[in-house]
């Protein structure tokens, strides 16, 4: 079972991101369970959502306390809550920022972690670019696909097209594709480095 | 039902099993109370009864109910002083119902449409002599005829009608109206013998083979009083003046006429004098207007027509072209006392209107009679002390009006009928009077009395045209519908409507209602909300 935890703020599509992740996994024939942290969600407030992916039925209903992967949709949260709590050794971390881990004060953390499991992505900018709104969730999801290889970009695109239609779907797909390519490229570059 | 939830879901209307009548401590009962108008009517008319039909526009039926008691509605509708209206409960609400005017409308309608009385009941084989064709005699003849008796009227005068013809001026009662109603009575088969004065009643009965007689000769002898007078002064009595109005030669009263008296006759004569061309018609009366026996409306009409009245005055002396009157003053008991002050009035003639006496000569020698104050005493059944001879009208002690006379005729006829059958007439039980407090007047809309059109004042002063007009159909209907139907159900459905327990059964048009005592809880709403007081509460026997 693979467990993903996404941190963000109300309004950034955190819950949608886990749902889309679960849909993408479902599209690949896998079992998935996405659920929010069940707060009274308010725009701007810290939000957590979860997604489990497995090859068999998922019965577990506890919150994800030891995630295999973390997606941080808002780097400002890093200074507010312990987003890394319970992260498995060598777990994936994807952070929405155009800075490096070093630049956002996570140099120490990054140095103790396998580099192929870490990535930052300027997802908000991609959202603005393709959708016209600072929504980073779909680019991040695609970036996560690229980072982890857990799901394919086509599945993310499928999930997007199920959820959205028209211009918004197109924008999201474009943003996701660019994010996927960007992360893929960075990871390849890093592998060669 | 069994498939439906037990107890919570019920069949409709099943509460009929719960007989709430057992809750009752008092029960409502429908009653017929006596309307004050009926009670007050000297002719015993069922006024509420005939107005009920008039309300629906069924004038013929109204007329038929009316004429059960009174064969002369067109006359009565003109000359009756309508004590019914004085008694009418509506007077306490706004104004009394114009019963008299509706009666006249019905009477006129009957003449116009030539309605006839229903044919008499099967002939009884009995024969009754009626003496006098005045209101009382005509009424008795009518009732007796309808009861199946053979009736013959012997009238001393040249025309039927009595005081209706010889006492009441034309401008109050056009003669064609009187003639029509008399003729309708005669059409029942009543024989009328005119110019046939009965001089000895026993003899007349024997000669004619009559089984009973009703005497109604009226009071036609004008009372006189002593007034010192010169030869030149013309002093006549009112009855003579009015009677001569029916003849070819109208009475010559001069330009200045003084009428002495305060009754309706005094007014009639004064108004007649005015119409005959008098420039002055002065009534001299010894007391005040309040004490005057003449009806207020007649006084009022007379004054409108220019008749003058000298109150608190007596005639002391009549000279040539003038009279001397003495002023009076009321003492503490209200009696007029002479003051010693005198004045003179110009007068070409003095008409005495001081009442009338009865000519009782036809009774001379008749056994068993009691005569008192110039009138014949009769028992409650209108029979004189002489078996088989009944009397009524002005010749017996009573208020001397046409209506009373008609009432006497009806009452006498019933008693004569009973007497002829060898039984005693038992009037039905008198119902309790439907007094105003028994009514719930809320339910009647506000509707003021319809005023009958009045003849133009100039024409009234110069002609004998009828002063008061009749109601037209719309007005009559309106007026009839002002009746409160006191004490008698008029099927307004109030009891049926206001019962919270649906315990009033409506039986359908004309059939009224009945109570369903199985469910009536005795709340009394129907009693209080009955507009006309036709329901009363009576305690249950518990």
């Amino acid at each position: 079972m693979f467990q993903v935890r996404i941190h963000g703020r109300g309004g950034q599509g955190v819950v949608t991101a886990t749902e889309m992740l679960s849909v993408a996994a479902f599209e690949e024939g896998r079992h998935a369970q996405a659920f929010p942290s069940f707060g009274s969600e308010r725009t701007g407030a810290p939000v957590v959502a979860f997604c489990r992916i497995d090859d068999k039925e998922i019965r577990l209903r506890e919150p994800i306390m030891e995630p295999d992967a973390l997606i941080i949709q808002d780097p400002t949260l890093l200074h507010q809550i312990d987003v890394f709590a319970g992260l498995k050794t060598n777990g994936y971390v994807l952070i929405n920022t155009h800075h490096s881990f070093e630049e956002i004060g996570l140099g120490d953390f990054a140095r103790g972690h396998p580099p192929e499991r870490l990535c930052t992505l300027a997802a908000t900018a991609l959202g603005l670019k393709h959708i016209g709104r600072p929504i980073p969730n779909m680019p991040l999801l695609a970036g996560f696909a690229a980072l982890s290889g857990l799901i394919r970009l086509e599945s993310v695109v499928k999930a997007i097209n199920q959820k959205f239609s028209g211009k918004i779907a197109e924008g999201n797909v474009a943003a996701a594709t660019e994010a996927y390519e960007s992360v893929k490229k960075e990871m390849e570059e890093r592998a060669h480095a | 039902m069994s498939s439906k939830p037990f107890a919570i879901t019920l069949k409709p209307g099943t509460s009929l099993a719960n007989l709430t009548g057992t809750w009752r401590t008092a029960r409502p009962q429908y009653v017929d109370r006596l309307p004050p108008c009926n009670h007050a009517c000297p002719a015993g008319e069922n006024i509420q009864g005939w107005l009920f039909h008039a309300e629906s526009g069924d004038y013929e039926q109204a007329w038929r109910v009316l004429t059960i008691s009174n064969p002369l509605p067109a006359v009565m509708g003109r000359v009756c002083y309508h004590p019914c209206e004085t008694a009418c409960n509506r007077g306490q609400l706004d104004e009394a119902v114009g019963i008299n005017s509706v009666e006249r409308f019905l009477g006129d309608e009957a003449i116009k449409r030539d309605w006839k009385f229903d044919a008499p009941a099967a002939a009884s084989g009995k024969k009754v002599l009626v003496v006098g064709a005045g209101p009382s005699g005509l009424s008795a003849a009518y009732h007796l005829a309808r009861m199946g008796h053979r009736v013959e009227i012997q009238e001393a005068g040249p025309l039927a009608g009595g005081m209706m013809r010889f006492g009441i001026p034309k401008y109050r009662l056009p003669r064609e109206v009187l003639d029509a109603e008399v003729q309708r009575i005669l059409d029942l088969g009543v024989t009328l013998k005119l110019n046939s004065k009965v001089v000895n009643i026993e003899q007349s009965m024997q000669q004619g083979g009559f089984d009973a007689a009703f005497l109604a000769v009226g009071a036609h002898i004008g009372k006189r009083t002593f007034i010192p007078a010169g030869d030149a002064t013309k002093i006549v009595d009112a009855v003579s003046v009015l009677r001569s109005m029916e003849g070819e030669d109208k009475p010559m009263l001069g330009r200045r006429v003084v009428v002495y008296g305060g009754g309706n006759t005094a007014i009639d004569v004064a108004r007649t004098a005015k119409r005959l061309g008098a420039t002055e018609a002065i009534i001299v009366y010894r007391r005040t207007r309040e004490k005057m026996p003449a009806h207020d409306f007649e006084v009022e009409e007379a004054l409108q027509e220019g008749v003058l009245i000298k109150w608190l005055s007596t005639i002391k002396q009549a000279g040539e072209g003038e009279i001397t009157v003495e002023k009076m003053a009321l003492d503490e008991k209200g009696f007029p006392q002479p003051t010693g002050e005198f004045e003179t009035l110009a007068a070409d003639s003095v008409v005495l209107a001081l009442g009338q006496d009865v000519d009782l000569s036809l009774l001379d020698g008749l056994s068993g009679l009691e005569i008192k104050d110039g009138t014949v005493q009769v028992a409650a059944n209108m029979m004189t002390g002489h078996p088989g001879i009944f009397a009524g009208g002005d010749m017996v002690p009573s208020e001397r009006t046409v209506t009373v006379g008609v009432g006497h005729g009806k009452k006498a006829a019933r008693n004569i009928d009973a007497w002829l059958r060898g039984i005693a007439y038992e009037p039905g039980p008198k119902h309790e009077i439907a007094t105003f407090d028994k009514l719930n007047p809320w339910y009647y809309s506000d509707a003021d009395k319809t005023v009958r059109p009045m003849l133009d004042i100039i024409r009234r002063q110069t002609s004998f045209d009828e002063v008061q007009g009749g109601l037209d159909e719309t007005n009559a209907l309106f007026e009839a519908r002002r009746c409160l139907s006191c004490g008698n159900c008029f099927e307004c459905d109030n009891c049926y409507g206001v019962c919270p327990d649906n315990a009033v059964i409506k039986l359908g048009p004309g059939k009224r209602f009945e109570f369903n005592y199985d469910y009536c809880k005795g709340c009394g709403l129907c009693v209080v909300e009955c507009p006309c007081g036709a329901i009363k509460m009576v305690p249950e026997d518990i």
């Binding site: - | 019920l10 409709p12 719960n18 307004c492 459905d493 049926y496 919270p500 709340c523 009693v527």
Partner: protein, 333 residues
């Protein structure tokens, strides 16, 4: 056009029936064919205004809907006296659920009829003043706001009579109830701000709002008929005196209702879409004393230690109603 009293026939102009009217002008209550929606054998007190008002109103609604009517009833006297197991007095399909939910239940019935394509079936909800102006008020307002196709009829007897005469928000000032006893310096119910539910109903802008009394049957029937001719949320508040709660003789129920109207204490009017379109004028204006004195619930205002100043305040309320609704005929009329 507001209600026009029959004028041409003076005898019985204001009575239930009238033998001279054309059949189509006759009142429902005068008909032998009236539905008697609430049947004999119910257990209402003698002279119950509510039992009477309910039959008046529901029969009229039955006539107007050609018998296609479903009635919903709030808890209260009407419900209790009409349906004690095993007997029901109702001859119409009828449901009672709770004290405070009749408007909502009626909404449900109307929704069911709509969804089943049976829009000829009309829905009436009914309750007392407690069930309407107090506990059922939320549901009532919701039903109004959604403009659900329900005619709600409030039988207003100005207190919780079913439970033993306790104060409701419809209880008039100074009235004695079991919870506003005539003791202390200001005996009886408080002079509050009032809760004029017909006006609150009007504020919802619903198609029709009217008040009526059991003393004015033809007006009442006219209003029910008019309400039934419309769709959407409609409200009629009918003044129904309660002999027990008012402390009046059982035979005085209608008289008291009449006096409530004639004094101006209970203004009778109608409104469409929030605007008053007609008032039933006072015929013979009387002082409030005439209305108050026959009622034991106001007895403490009179007698040995009278409260004329309180009577004057009540008169002021009546006068305000008269002014506000124009209850008097103009002098020139």
């Amino acid at each position: 056009m507001p209600y026009q009293p029959v004028k041409f026939y003076q005898t019985g102009t204001f009575t239930v029936g009238n033998r001279l009217l054309a059949p189509d002008e006759r009142s429902v209550q005068s008909s032998r064919m009236r539905s008697n929606s609430i049947n004999s054998g119910h257990r209402a007190c003698q002279g119950c205004g509510e039992a009477l008002g309910a039959r008046y109103a529901i029969d009229a609604a039955m006539a107007a809907s050609d018998g296609q009517l479903i009635a919903v009833n709030a808890t209260g006297c009407l419900e209790v006296f009409s349906t004690p197991y095993p007997e029901s007095s109702w001859q119409v399909p009828w449901i009672h659920s709770l004290f405070g939910n009749a408007p909502a239940v009626a909404t449900g019935v109307a929704a069911a009829m709509k969804v089943k394509g049976r829009q000829e079936v009309r829905v009436v909800a009914q309750g007392g003043d407690g069930g309407t102006t107090d506990i059922g008020f939320g549901c009532l307002s919701g039903m109004f706001e959604r403009n659900d196709d329900v005619l709600y009829i409030c039988y207003d007897n100005e207190a919780y009579m079913n439970t033993g005469v306790q104060r409701s928000s419809a209880t008039p000032p100074a009235a004695r109830t079991a919870t506003t006893m005539p003791v202390g310096p200001e005996p009886g119910n408080v002079f509050g701000q009032g809760k004029n539910v017909p006006e609150i109903a009007m504020a919802h802008g619903i198609p029709y709002v009217a008040t009526a009394t059991v003393a004015d049957l033809r007006d009442l029937e006219y209003k029910v008929r008019k309400a039934m001719s419309m769709h959407g949320a409609r409200y009629i508040q009918i003044f129904v005196p309660c002999p027990l709660g008012f402390g009046t003789a059982s035979h005085d129920t209608i008289r008291i209702a009449r006096l409530a109207r004639e004094t101006g204490m209970f203004p009778v009017f109608e409104a469409e879409h929030g605007e008053v379109t007609g008032v039933l004028k006072i015929r013979h204006k009387v002082a409030v004393e005439e209305y108050l004195q026959p009622q034991k619930r106001f007895a403490h205002l009179f007698g040995k230690h009278p409260h004329p100043e309180t009577v004057a305040r009540l008169q002021a309320i009546a006068d305000r109603n008269i002014r506000k609704y124009g209850l008097l005929e103009k002098e020139s009329d």
